[in-house]
């Protein structure tokens, strides 16, 4: 067990429960499905006239998605206040963050879901395509991370 989880297991499991509680609260109180990547398209719907970004589902959800995203920042900020210094500034090179972010944003919107939308909401609503999406992105992500590691 120790070698599989060198940093311990509890904070991972506890964090996951908190994430699940957030998605659950959203659903039980409002009926909304708390994926994350739609936030980018729905926010862009304020600025773009492209039909693909002006879809009804984006325009209709852009207000609550913005509030939801503000909640993300707020919750993480609360942690930073309670445990100062616990999160280090990332050393991942800028080009990896930008290019990786671009591909992740493009891919998530093409697939209509990311780690949250397919990984949590999709699997929790027992949708097979979401499970396939998760297995696919885990495979390509693991492959890419190994490749980048070998090249360094």
């Amino acid at each position: 067990m120790e070698s599989l989880f060198p940093l311990g297991l509890l904070h991972y499991a506890f964090g996951g429960v908190l994430i699940g509680l957030g998605v659950s609260l959203l659903y039980v109180a409002t009926g909304l499905v708390g994926g994350t990547s739609s936030f980018f398209s729905s926010t862009l719907s304020w600025f773009s006239r492209a039909p693909g970004l002006r879809e009804e589902r984006y325009v209709a959800s852009r207000s609550w998605r913005l509030v939801y995203a503000a909640g993300f920042v707020l919750g993480a900020f609360a942690f930073a206040v309670l445990a100062p210094g616990a999160v280090a500034i990332t050393q991942v090179p800028a080009w990896q963050l930008v290019l990786g972010g671009f591909l992740a944003g493009f891919g998530a919107r093409l697939a209509n879901g990311c780690t949250a939308g397919h990984g949590i909401c999709g699997i929790a609503s027992m949708q097979v395509p979401s499970l396939l999406a998760v297995l696919t992105f885990l495979a390509t992500a693991i492959g890419t991370a190994h490749l980048v590691g070998w090249l360094k």
């Binding site: 599989l4 940093l7 297991l9 904070h11 991972y12 964090g15 996951g16 908190l18 994430i19 699940g20 957030g22 659950s24 609260l25 959203l26 659903y27 409002t30 009926g31 909304l32 499905v33 994350t36 990547s37 936030f39 980018f40 862009l44 773009s48 970004l53 509030v67 939801y68 995203a69 909640g71 993300f72 707020l74 993480a76 942690f79 616990a86 500034i89 050393q91 990896q96 963050l97 290019l99 972010g101 591909l103 992740a104 944003g105 493009f106 998530a108 093409l110 697939a111 780690t115 949250a116 990984g119 949590i120 699997i123 929790a124 609503s125 097979v128 395509p129 396939l132 999406a133 992105f137």
Partner: protein, 136 residues
């Protein structure tokens, strides 16, 4: 949006963001270390998040006629097919390269991990290109 609804959306997001910080997923290094199979902790994050959500998603529509604050229980929109798989494959390459996925890119800003702004810019640009040129 009513105030109660707004507060629940905000609180739901805050719990999500807190969970991302507690589980250290806001640190790309942790995600990359998982993807290089050096620390499998993220499976525990995913597993416990799914189990918790599963209970709410399966029980709420059976026990309640409608959500507590009104409206209707919505469903995650998934369409089986090549777009979903191709998109997921590309998403994975980006995730593996940066160690950043959408939730942590947003939440990480709350912990002061400011280089994540670069990833956030990339995410917006990617979503824009998809919506502008590759919408269904």
């Amino acid at each position: 949006m009513s105030l109660a609804r707004l507060l629940c959306v905000l609180a739901g997001g805050a719990l999500f963001g807190l969970g991302l910080a507690v589980s250290t997923m806001v640190q790309p290094e942790v995600v990359i270390s998982f993807l290089r199979l050096k620390d499998l902790g993220l499976l525990a994050v995913l597993g416990s998040a799914v189990m918790t959500t599963l209970v709410a998603y399966q029980l709420a529509p059976r026990l309640l006629k409608r959500p507590l604050l009104g409206g209707a229980f919505q469903k995650h929109a998934v369409t089986p097919g090549a777009r979903t798989i191709l998109g997921a494959a590309i998403f994975g390459v980006g995730w593996g390269l940066s160690g950043v996925c959408p939730g942590p890119a947003v939440a990480g800003l709350g912990t002061g991990n400011w280089p994540l702004l670069l990833a956030l810019a990339g995410l917006f640009a990617g979503a824009w290109v998809q919506g502008r040129f590759f919408a269904r």
